[in-house]
Symmetry: C2
Subunit: 207 residues, 2 copies
Amino acid sequence: MSETLKKPSKADLRRDDLRARLIDIAEARIRADGLGAVKARELAREADCAVGAIYNVFSDLNGLVMAVNGRTFQALGAEVARSVLAAPKDEPQAELITMSHVYLRFAAQNTNLWRALFDLEMSTEMDVPQWYLAELGKLFALIAAPLRRVFPDYTRDQVELMTRALFSSVHGIVLLGLQKRISGVPFDKLEDMIAILLSNVTSQAST
Amino acid sequence: MSETLKKPSKADLRRDDLRARLIDIAEARIRADGLGAVKARELAREADCAVGAIYNVFSDLNGLVMAVNGRTFQALGAEVARSVLAAPKDEPQAELITMSHVYLRFAAQNTNLWRALFDLEMSTEMDVPQWYLAELGKLFALIAAPLRRVFPDYTRDQVELMTRALFSSVHGIVLLGLQKRISGVPFDKLEDMIAILLSNVTSQAST
C-alpha cells in the first residue's frame, strides 16, 4: 500500500512546515490587529525565512489570508453546529435564534478574524476557492434545515432565498452592531434585534 | 440688520472656497476609487494648495471624508423620502419594500460613496458628529412611520428596535449581495430577498 504513495521529500516537509507556521503567524496578526497587519516583510522576519520563500508556498498574501479564513470559517461552523446539537428538538424557530446568537458571539469574540472573512478583497468571484464555497455551503445547510421545517410549503429555491436573506440579515445586524454605527445599541439589544427579526419572519408561517 | 452680522473677511471666503473645493475633489476620488484614494498630497495638488492648508479647514482627513459622507447621506435620504411620497398610501408593507429597493439601487449606483459611509474608521462613538446622527435619525424616522402602522400595538422601544433590526438586515443583504460574497446572487434576486424578508416580518402582524 504505502509504496503507491509518494514519500514526501525533505523539501516537501520543509515547505509544509513553513506553510503551517505562516498561517499561524498571519492568524495571530489578524486576530490582534486586523488584515492590515499581514505584511510580507514582517511575516518573513517572524517566520525566520526570506520574503521570497512566502511566495513559494502561497501565490500571494491573499492566498495566505484565505488559508487563515478557512480556519476561521471551520471554527465558526463547528460552533454553530454544536449549538444546533444542544438546541431543543422540534423547535426550528428557537434553533435559528440560537444559531444566530452563536454567530453574534463568535463575531464579538473574534472580531478581526471574522471581519477578515468579509473584508478580503476578491476581484472576481472566480478568486473564491472551491473549499471556501463548500464551507459557506455547509453553514447555509445548517440554516436551511430548520427553515424547511418552518416553511414546509416552500420550494427548494424559496428555502435557498430565505436562507441567504436571513444569513445576510443577521450578518448586517451583527456588523453594524459591533461597529457601533447605529449608536447606542448594547450587546443584549443586538440579541433582542436578532430574536425579534427571526421570530417575526418565522411565526407568520404557522398561521 | 446686516450690521449685526459679521461680514466675512477675505480670508474667511478663501477658506470656505477651499473647503468646498476639497469636498468636491474628495467626493470625486471616493466615487471613482474608494476611501483609499483620499490622500493629502494628491488632494493638495488637485486643489492647488499646500498640504498644510487642508488642515486649516479640516482637523484631519477623516473630517474631510465625514463632510463627503454628509453629502452622500443627504442624497440617500432625499431619494428614500421621494420614494415614500411616490408609494401608494395606506400600504405600509409596500412602502417598506420600496424604500429598501431604493436603498439597494442607491448602493449599487454609488457603491464607493455608500461604502465610505460605513468604512470610515471612527475610533469611538464620540467621534460621530451630531449632524451625522441627525441624518441617521431622519432615515430611521422614515422607516419607523410605516412600521408603527404595521405594528400598532408595539411600544415606542419595540418600534425603535424593529426599525434598527430591519435597517441592519436590508443593509446586510445589500452589502453581501454587492460584494458578491454569497455566490451567484443576481441583482433581481437581491430585490426578491429584501421583499421576502420584509413581507414575512410584517405580514405576521395582521393575523
